[in-house]
């Protein structure tokens, strides 16, 4: 958030109409393509606000407002917040009173598990990648390759031994277990990402700091780390999204108390035998999008620099 970009500019309202050098034609083209990409997400968000009976209506209702009569009535739905209430509390048995669904707990679990494991991986992975980059071992590349192979296997291949190991040491169903597992998985990605950032830094700058009297610790903390902030942000966001969306391990290795949203989401709509409650699912998904959206939004400046890093020769 270093730059002086205002909130409005940040979300796309730039001075001069925001068209810049591209011109209206291209801007319009990009806008249309973006809209096509965004359509499924938009559809889910709209569905979250629809009454249950309109979820699968044909033709689909597409707009919460008729725009002063511009849109024909059959495409318009009247928005409701009922679905969001149902996420946290709803009637489970016919004729019964509304019960708490535990989703507040599941959201809390998702946030805690994803944040802690990604931050942990970021700290460990950044230290490790600095080591790999600055103090290469004999067979450095081999170690890096082995680390990468941990991400090459599909999760389904390794899930059985991991379940058995977690059961044996009593980690199954605990926060510690799932956090450690996600940390291990994020670590490989973090090490590879951050190593490429450290490799790009000029070692002369570090030597200059050594001559200026800095210890190795200070060279890392005061010279190297501030130069890779964009990389840290990009790695953090990518890791967070991967972990936030992870389903398989969460399904098999979390207990009722540590369940994350993707697993709970599945169970919420699949149980009861009354068919899938699409509007409820859409409401959960909409809520589920918000944290990722917020994090990406606040880190977007760093993120862009992070993903384009090293692509332009200085």
């Amino acid at each position: 958030m270093a730059s002086g970009v205002s909130f409005w500019e940040r979300i796309g309202f730039r001075s001069g109409g925001g068209v810049g050098d591209a011109g209206w034609g291209r801007t319009l083209g990009v806008a249309i393509v973006s809209l096509i990409y965004f359509l499924p997400v938009l559809f889910i968000i709209f569905t979250a606000f629809k009454p249950q009976e309109l979820a699968l209506s044909v033709p689909p209702t597409l707009s919460p407002t008729s725009f002063f009569g511009l849109i024909p009535d059959q495409f318009v739905f009247s928005p409701t917040l009922e679905n969001f209430g149902s996420v946290f509390s709803r009637v489970m048995t016919a004729g019964g009173a509304p019960e708490a669904t535990g989703f507040d707990r599941f959201f809390f679990n998702s946030i805690v598990i994803a944040t802690v494991s990604v931050l942990l991986a970021l700290v460990l992975g950044t230290l490790a990648s600095y080591g790999f980059s600055r103090y290469p071992l004999k067979g450095n590349d081999t170690y890096l390759f082995i680390i990468l192979t941990t991400r090459m296997l599909p999760a389904i291949v390794v899930v059985i031994p991991i379940i058995l190991m977690f059961r044996a040491v009593g980690l199954a169903g605990s926060y510690t277990g799932i956090i450690l597992l996600y940390t291990a998985f994020n670590l490989a990605f973090t090490i590879w990402m951050m190593k490429s950032f450290f490799d790009e830094l000029s070692t002369d700058v570090e030597d200059a700091a050594r001559i200026d009297g800095s210890s190795e610790t200070k060279v890392f903390l005061k010279i190297c780390l501030p130069q890779v902030v964009a990389g840290l942000a990009a790695t953090f966001v990518f890791g967070l999204i991967l972990t936030w969306n992870e389903f398989l391990f969460a399904l098999l290795l979390t207990g009722p108390d540590t369940r994350t949203v993707p697993v709970a989401m599945n169970q919420a709509v699949a149980s009861g035998g009354r068919g899938t409650d699409w509007t409820l699912l859409a409401a959960i998904e909409t809520l589920f999008l918000i944290p990722v959206f917020l994090v990406t939004f606040f880190l977007q400046d760093h993120l862009l620099r992070g993903v384009t890093f090293g692509t332009v020769k200085k």
Binding site: S202, V205, D207, A208, R210, I211, D212, G213, P226
Partner: protein, 363 residues
């Protein structure tokens, strides 16, 4: 000079190898306090490794590094009183000019008010006071260079190491910075070790120059000494512009002349340590060749090319398949035409005679 000089820096038999590559080979030299000492040689000859060894970034395999009489060979970097300007400037890219200047003082735990005073003083001295809140990437090359210089000077180092500091600047700036560096050297009485591949920089700034080749020092001397008495062909070829003319031949039986394709070149003295018939080379500076005067016998030659350089003209003449270059005042070269015959005289007193096998000068 005259008074007793303190030795600021002394390297004795320093060697360093990276795997099979020998970076430094038995390097020995002393630098007196307050001296402007130049390490001169083409790229990858070991200049940077030498500077890094002095700074402590490189630990030598063998040999000794002394700074003001204290052995620092295997000691840490801090405390040497040495600062360095890198070829790449190596500014801290995430810090402002102010913070770049302050960095070494913060690491020395200097008081905040004192840091502020010295940062502003340094910025003013280097005409950077208006740029003090800027990040390095928003500065021009010359400004970045001055920031790098300021950051090294602000600690008041005992020895300043400069690694090709002007290489990344354009020609005009390079000229200005040469003058600026000389001024700073005088003003602070700093001991400077300056690495450069540029002959002009070496000769114009260096009080003492070490010519380097393959990680070793070939000759150390003042600019005049290197110019007047190069110890071997390598130094002779590196110092002096245009380059020294080199004529191949064999020594005459009496050791007092060289038999060459352009005839016998008699020496001004008899060589003591050479054998008759030995392959040898005569070097002569372009300034030491002139046209024959009235009645004087010279080598018959023809003018091949004229290169006017303003106040002087470099004239290439051809004689017996050998091209010789001479430097004449612009007025003396006026009216010369390529192809025109001429007679040239080589001053035997100015001959540099080298052994062909080793390239060493023959006594």
């Amino acid at each position: 000079m005259g008074q007793v000089e303190n030795t600021a820096l002394s390297l004795a038999n320093v060697s360093k190898a990276y795997g099979r590559v020998r970076a430094l080979e038995n390097l020995s030299f002393n630098v007196a306090e307050g001296r402007f000492f130049v390490l001169f040689g083409p790229s990858s000859v070991g200049k940077t490794t030498t500077l890094r060894t002095i700074a402590g970034l490189v630990t030598p395999d063998r040999g000794r590094v002394e700074i003001f009489g204290k052995d620092w060979t295997n000691q840490p970097i801090a405390g040497r009183g040495v600062s360095m300007v890198f070829q790449s400037f190596a500014l801290y890219p995430h810090l402002t000019v102010y913070q770049n200047f302050a960095y070494p003082l913060v690491e020395e735990k200097v008081a905040k008010s004192e840091i502020d005073r010295r940062v502003r003083e340094t910025a003013a001295m280097l005409r950077l006071d208006k740029k003090i809140d800027r990040k390095p990437n928003t500065l021009s090359g010359g400004e970045q260079q001055r920031v790098a210089l300021g950051r090294s000077l602000i600690r008041r180092p005992k020895i300043l190491l400069l690694d090709e500091p002007l290489t990344n600047l354009d020609a005009k700036l390079r000229h200005d910075m040469r003058a600026e560096l000389k001024r700073l050297h005088r003003q602070f009485g700093l001991t400077i070790v300056y690495a450069t591949p540029d002959e002009l920089e070496a000769l114009s700034m260096g009080e003492e120059i070490a010519v380097m080749r393959d990680g070793a020092i070939v000759q150390i001397g003042s600019p005049d000494e290197l110019y007047e008495a190069p110890r071997d062909l390598y130094v002779a070829g590196k110092i002096g512009s245009p380059h020294m003319n080199i004529i191949q031949g064999r020594l005459a039986a009496d050791g007092a002349a060289l038999e060459t394709s352009i005839g016998a070149l008699p020496f001004a003295r008899r060589l003591q340590t050479a054998q008759a018939g030995e392959a040898a080379l005569v070097g002569i500076r372009p300034n030491d060749i002139r046209f024959a005067g009235g009645g004087e016998r010279g080598l018959s030659a023809s003018i091949a090319m004229l290169e006017p350089l303003g106040d002087v003209t470099v004239v290439s003449v051809e004689t017996g398949g050998q091209t010789l270059r001479m430097v004449l005042p612009e007025s003396a070269a006026a009216g010369l035409q390529p192809g025109q015959p001429a007679a040239v005289v080589l001053d035997p007193a100015k001959f540099h005679i080298f052994r062909a096998s080793s390239g060493q000068v023959i006594a």
